[in-house]
Structure formats: C-alpha cells, structure tokens
C-alpha cells in the first residue's frame, strides 16, 4: 500500500449550521498518519453534517478544514485522491452486481484490480455472491459491499459514517481488524458511532456539545 506519511488533516473552530443555527460548539482537532477519531454526539447533534463538511460535500460550516495546510476546496484533486467517504447512502447501484459496483469505483480512481475486489469480498464472507445484483442483498450485506471499498480502493483517509450499523458481530470484528491494519500502515480514520468501540487501537473521542445559545449573540455582525 502506498502511503504518504506526511498527510495531515486539521480542523480549526469548525461548526456546522442547520437553518442558520449552529449545531454544536466549535471543535478543533488535527490528525496525522496512524491516528483515528470517533465523533460522538446525540441524535441530531450534527455528526453526519460534520462529516459531509469534512469531505467538501457540504459548505454549511464556519471554520477551517485544512488538508496539508491548504483549504480542501483549493486542493480538491489531491484531497479526494486520498479520501474515501462512506455515508448513510452507500452509493451502490441496485441494478448492478456487487463486482460491477466496486469495479466502477475503482475505475473512477483510474485503477482496475479484480483480484483485490474478490479478495475483499472473500474477507467479508460475500465472495460467493460477487455476481449477485446489489438490489437483492440484505441491509447488512449491502453495508459489507460498501465497506469492501476500504480494501479495494487503498487510500489513506477513511471517513465512515456509522459503519457499524447493520453489521453483525463478525462484520464488526472484521471492520475493527481492518481499521487496525490501516492505522498500522499509516492511514487515518474518522468515524461516527453511537456505540463505544473498543477494538480499534488508539481511537480518540470527539464529543459534539450543543451550542450554548446565548453566546451566539456575541457574533454581532452576523454570521458569515
């Protein structure tokens, strides 16, 4: 696996807005190779919104998101080449087979490696289904297919939104092993989860606290 060990992601005073209201108190953190962060918070605290802003999909935030000391919008190509985001919507086409889905995402990264796809599916115990249409799979199996991308597309920064949802114990254990391997190889992981994850080494927690409403008046000249 090719890794650039000097990649850094830095977040400064980031808060996300929904209907013009800040969702949580500004957070700051930075991460480098081999680090993992779990974002915690109650339902509606803005975990998913935060991840979408981190990926540059959403711009409803205030604060800085820096990839190797540059604004992510300015180094989009480099940032996206190192980023894998798996959200609530898994991005799988129900009318295509498992293999076709994974193959397409490889093509978008200008690679084509069928062996690694099959290997990933094998690890996830869905290798036998590789030519099955995604639409015929169960929710847990679909999640496994989406997570297979972390093997089939070797990149350094994983952003996973609730990756444990719909996975059985075996699947969760696999994910934890994969995360540990990734961190040992010098990767970075940001994930959200309701449950406490014990199997991932050195996972730091970041808690999102709801905004203290009265303090927002201090921003007198309006927001943005």
């Amino acid at each position: 696996m090719q890794q650039k060990p000097d990649n850094r992601l830095k977040i400064e005073n980031l808060t996300v807005f929904r209907s013009e209201l800040p969702l949580f108190e500004p957070v700051s953190f930075s991460m480098k190779a081999g680090e993992a962060i779990q974002i915690k918070g109650t339902n509606g605290s803005g975990k998913t919104s935060l991840l979408r802003c981190l990926c540059g999909l959403s711009h409803r935030h205030q604060g800085l998101i820096r990839w190797n000391d540059a604004n992510i919008d300015d180094v989009k190509d480099d940032f996206y080449a190192h980023l894998l985001y798996i959200g609530h919507a898994l991005g799988l086409k129900p009318k295509l087979s498992i293999e076709q889905n994974l193959d397409f995402y490889q093509q978008l990264r200008f690679t084509q490696d069928q062996a690694i796809i099959l290997q990933a599916l094998e690890q996830l115990k869905i290798g036998a289904y590789h030519d099955e249409l995604v639409g015929n799979l169960s929710a847990g199996q679909k999640r496994r297919v989406a997570l297979a991308r972390i093997i089939s597309e070797p990149v350094s920064l994983w952003v996973l939104d609730e990756p444990m949802v719909a996975l059985d114990v075996e699947g969760q254990a696999w994910l934890e092993r994969a995360c540990n391997q990734h961190l040992a190889d010098g990767g970075m992981i940001i994930l959200t989860s309701h449950q406490t994850i014990e199997g991932i080494n050195g996972l730091t927690e970041l808690r999102l606290n709801e905004t203290n409403w009265k303090e927002t008046y201090l921003m007198d000249e309006g927001l943005a």
Binding site: S58, Y80, A89, Y105, L108
Partner: protein, 222 residues
C-alpha cells in the same frame, strides 16, 4: 482505458436499461398520449393532419419531462451522485453524461417512432421526415434544459410538480420552432429556418446547461 466521460455514459445507460421502465414508459406514454387526440378531438384525417405537428411535439416534450426523474433521483438518493463528486468527476461531466444517456435511451426512440405516429395522423412523407429531423435537433435540448430543473429539485419533497413548473416555460422556444418546422413542411413551405434555430438552441444549451446543472447539483447535495 476509455475516457471517463464515456464510461460514465455507458454506466448510466446500462443501469437504466436494466430496469426497462425508463426505456419503455416514456415511449409508451408518447404513443398513448398521441392516440388520445383522435378520440378527444376528431378522427377526421384532414384536421388530424393539421393538428399532428403540435400533438407530436407536445407529447414528445412531456415524455422527456417524464423520463428525467429516472436518471437523477435514484442516483441522488442512493448516494451515487455524491460519490461521483468525491471521486473528482466534474459536475458538468455528470450532467453531460446523464443527458447523453437520457437522450439515447428516451429521445432517440422518440425520434425513431415519430414517423409511425405521423402515419397514424395522416401527414405526408416530407413532413414525417421533418418531424424526425426536428425531434432529432430538439429533444437533446429538452434533455439538457430538463437536467437543470432536475438538479435544482433533487432533494425536494414535491420535486416532480415543481420540476414541471420550472422547466416547461423554458421548453417553449423549442416547442414553438419544432412544431412550426413540421407544420411548415406539411403545407409545403420552407422549414430550414426553424431547423437552424433548433440547432442554435441545441448548441447554446450544450454550452450553458452543464454548468448551470453542475452548480445546481452541488447545491442540492450540500
């Protein structure tokens, strides 16, 4: 390896063709709507021939409008669109690829079947030929303009109704010149001017629509 844009078009088409409904429904809609007019207005061949250009064009326009949803909505909800953007595919390429696929799957069959409708409506060979030509030039424009409206309404609850309100006024020039070309041909007048304008509208929409659509798509995904 083939170019990314073409692989995107191929993927769109293969996805859509697998579900058949995207391909068959607009075509069936086109045929059924046109066949309602003789029942509703008159079976008189002379009058039908007079009405045919307008009927064919209005029905084609509505079929295209109907087909737009299938190319964007599911892809948006399943998270495919955001993955494409995250893979660094420019939004304008996505719009071009989807419009191309949309036209190949919906527009082209309409063009092919239009002469058949023309025969049912008793218009002569020359006008039939012009109907095909005008649809060939006009339907891609409709797909492109429609894609802007579609991208604007992606995440919305009543997107379908809103799409109609947003897009139909923008379709009017294409409708006017398309129907008028067929009409001119059916009474033996020169129709090259109308076709030229349809071509100009197509070029203009190829240049502008992908950018507007891409901007709209980013806002909808935001």
């Amino acid at each position: 390896m083939s170019s990314p844009l073409w692989s995107l078009v191929k993927r769109e088409i293969s996805v859509v063709l697998r579900s058949q409904s995207e391909f068959v429904y607009p075509l069936a809609f086109f045929i059924i709507v046109t066949s309602l007019f003789p029942l509703a207005v008159t079976p008189d061949p002379v009058q039908l021939a007079f009405l045919a250009p307008g009927i064919i064009w209005v029905a084609a326009l509505l079929s295209i409008l109907l087909s737009l949803n299938g190319f964007y909505q599911a892809d948006y909800e399943e998270g495919g669109l955001e993955q494409l953007l995250l893979a660094g595919v420019p939004g304008s390429s996505i719009v071009i690829a989807k419009s191309a696929a949309n036209w190949l799957v919906t527009g082209l069959p309409l063009v092919m079947i239009a002469p058949l409708i023309g025969v049912l409506f008793n218009i002569d060979m020359q006008a039939n030929w012009v109907a095909m030509l005008s649809l060939l030039l006009g339907t891609p424009t409709l797909c492109l303009i429609g894609s802007i409206g579609m991208c604007l309404t992606l995440g919305l609850r009543n997107g379908g109704v809103l799409l109609t309100l947003l897009v139909l006024p923008l379709f009017i020039p294409v409708l006017i010149f398309g129907a008028s070309a067929v009409q001119a041909a059916s009474i033996g007048l020169d129709y090259s001017g109308q076709l030229a304008i349809l071509g100009a509208l197509l070029i203009l929409s190829i240049i502008l629509a992908p950018h507007a659509g891409a901007a709209a798509m980013k806002i909808s995904i935001d």
